[in-house]
Symmetry: C2
Subunit: 407 residues, 2 copies
């Protein structure tokens, strides 16, 4: 794949992609991948995620460089430029200037507060999450309408929008026959945190603007991402990606690998039957590129379920235990009281064929990936702060009062 169109004079014009949230876990890997594929990339980020880490006393397992150093190193290694706009997309004046100066053909929007536990810490974080995500996305939609109607919005949603219905999960829409009549309607949503709800709100807002304004949009309902290395981030230490293992920002499989590396029992919430879709971060970058290379039509609101395999938490724990033992680690598992409100045993069968039809070649979770991920976490295990491993946020105990104590 290569990020260029044929211009009328035969010269190739690189497609311009604005990556909002390009300093984050998915966004950084995607920015480098697209730059490597000859897209012209601009990162938009207010770096607020780095602030959250400071405020909560958290840190990435991997040491990560500043965004300025990251971009400088990428330029010195590859000769490729990545433009940087530092600011908040909730500030429409900032976003307008960035949009008008870069003139993107596509926007990949990763730039949201993306942790369910963070959104459940206290009232002010719940409100922040919904405001930041919903208003940020509204601003992106208005910027496209005002300054570049043809720009394709590739928006990161989450599989968590669907919840765990007792019927198969389709990709965005479901055909319902009811009292003898039939219609294809948005798939019903049952999100279970203020974060997941913010994504549901975004989806409804985007769908409306596709219909009313002719916006072209792809909603990527992403599963849980695991892994850390992509071809580009592996090129140099200063390009390394963040790797969250704590109870607030860490996600299931990544957390288990760090727990295994430091000899902490794997923390299964409740019964461990919670089943979700998962994917390798190398597939995140591939999926986003496929969405950009095959844009939605004007007025189309397209939804792809972006994951490659389903696992229950217990299955993941068993896989990490086996892989750990091969490396001589003694891996134990404990059940901890579930801090969330969610079904711990349920039916789960979610479709995910649309990205495969566009050409996705999945990196399935194999022994060798788990081996290398575990080795990677072992390499950095001295950086682990064990106090951050257990879950600290309760869905039921969230209060209206600001939580002021860090640990």
């Amino acid at each position: 794949g290569s990020g260029s169109d044929q211009a009328s004079d035969g010269a190739s014009v690189p497609k311009k992609v604005m990556v909002i949230g390009g300093d984050g876990y998915c966004g950084w890997a995607t920015s480098l991948h697209l730059s490597n594929k000859n897209y012209e990339v601009a990162i938009v980020d207010n770096l607020v995620r780095r602030l959250f880490d400071h405020q909560l006393g958290l840190d990435s397992l991997t040491p990560i460089s500043s965004i300025h150093n990251r971009i400088r190193r990428w330029k010195s290694l590859t000769g490729k430029d990545i433009q940087l706009y530092v600011g908040d997309i909730c500030d429409f004046e900032f976003l307008s200037e960035a949009f008008k100066s870069f003139e993107p053909d596509a926007i990949v929007h990763f730039g949201e507060q993306r942790s369910a536990p963070y959104s459940m810490i206290d009232r002010s974080r719940a409100v922040y999450t919904q405001h930041n995500n919903v208003i940020g996305t509204l601003n992106v939609l208005f910027a496209i309408k005002e300054f570049g109607e043809d720009c394709h919005l590739v928006k990161l949603g989450t599989m968590g929008e669907y919840g765990t219905p007792n019927i198969d999960i389709e990709e965005g829409y479901i055909t319902i026959t009811h009292n003898g009549r039939t219609d294809t309607l948005p798939y019903p949503k049952q999100a279970s945190s203020f974060y997941h709800l913010s994504k549901v709100h975004d989806s409804h807002n985007i769908a409306f603007t596709c219909k009313a304004w002719g916006i072209r949009a792809t909603d990527l309902n992403q599963g849980v991402v695991y892994g850390v290395r992509t071809d580009e981030t592996a090129m140099h230490e200063e390009l390394y990606n963040r790797f969250d293992y704590d109870g607030v920002f860490g996600t299931a499989l990544n957390r288990f690998c760090v727990q295994a590396a430091v000899g902490h029992p794997l923390t299964v919430y409740g019964k461990g039957g919670q089943t979700r879709g998962y994917l390798d971060i190398r597939d995140t970058v591939q999926c986003v590129e496929l969405a950009i290379a095959n844009p939605a039509q004007r007025g189309e609101f397209r939804v792809f379920n972006q994951f490659t395999e389903q696992f229950s938490v217990n299955e993941l724990a068993a896989l990490v235990t086996k892989a750990g033992e091969k490396l001589g680690l003694e891996v134990q598992t404990i059940s901890v009281p579930n801090p969330r409100v969610e079904a711990e045993e349920h039916y789960y069968n979610a479709k995910h064929t649309k990205l495969v039809e566009l050409g996705l070649k999945p990196h399935l979770l194999s022994d060798s990936l788990l081996d290398s991920l575990l080795n990677f976490t072992i390499q950095y295990k001295d950086r682990v702060d064990s106090k951050q491993i257990m879950p600290s946020v309760s869905w039921r105990k969230i209060g209206a009062k600001p939580k002021t104590v860090a640990a």
Copy 2:
């Protein structure tokens, strides 16, 4: 009905109802109705709706008194007290103090920006609408969780959340059989303005808190309200309710009556086949009382479709034309280009049995009601500003830039 519980000593303790948005069209009529029925009522309102009217150069057809005079007049006529808390529910400190001082058994939440055209004027009004409505409702949920978990939330939603699907509309939930499995899921939502979308977001947020925190809530998906007089507001001129006829806040049937009264042709948008549920404001107050008197269970998220009859815009125009002719008015109809993006011919069949099962006795739209409504509008026709009659807001032309010119 009467708003009191039996206390252990046999004395009757009035139920306390906080009416958020109690200075508005539905809220004022409801506050007086509940007060009359011996509920203890507190109005919470930041009066922002009166500010919108000033800013846009609009005015109610009926002259309305200040909220302070309204409450004084009610007290002098009936001896009954209504408490008043003036402030913004997006300000959690204000809301907390009001909640702790009044200790409501139920909250009726009307306090939102409720005009679809207002939300489509410009970017800043779109953002204001979603912020005001979503964050205000989140604050109400947190106040209940923190200060009075048993308080019943009666939240005003809208039938517009459902859009116009090609299958029957159920009350909040639909049972779907898909690939051989069955589940009852939230009815899919297809809202078509930033205002209607804000209600969809509220519904999802409330449903989550019922499940996660055990909140008890009733979502009243209300149809379009018509009429102006209720038993209580008719008691004195200083108690009169607002009556909006302009293109921003006026709703279909009320607008047609004013148009007929001043000899303006009835403004049908596009083909006029748009069909919606309607109800008399005397039924709004009855429905809210029924919901309060029969509260949802702890943890229950109950949805009622609150309307009594369906009409297409063309049917309403025909009814007003007939009623006008009986009064000697010459009523014409014109089709104006539809400022909205919506289907103008569609299937529509929405269930509305749950409130009837609780005891609702509907006031159906009859000749006599239309007669008195028309006579009422004729009485005030000198107050009509004809410039405000035509629609001024376009769903497609909304811009990112602030709209600074009033007329």
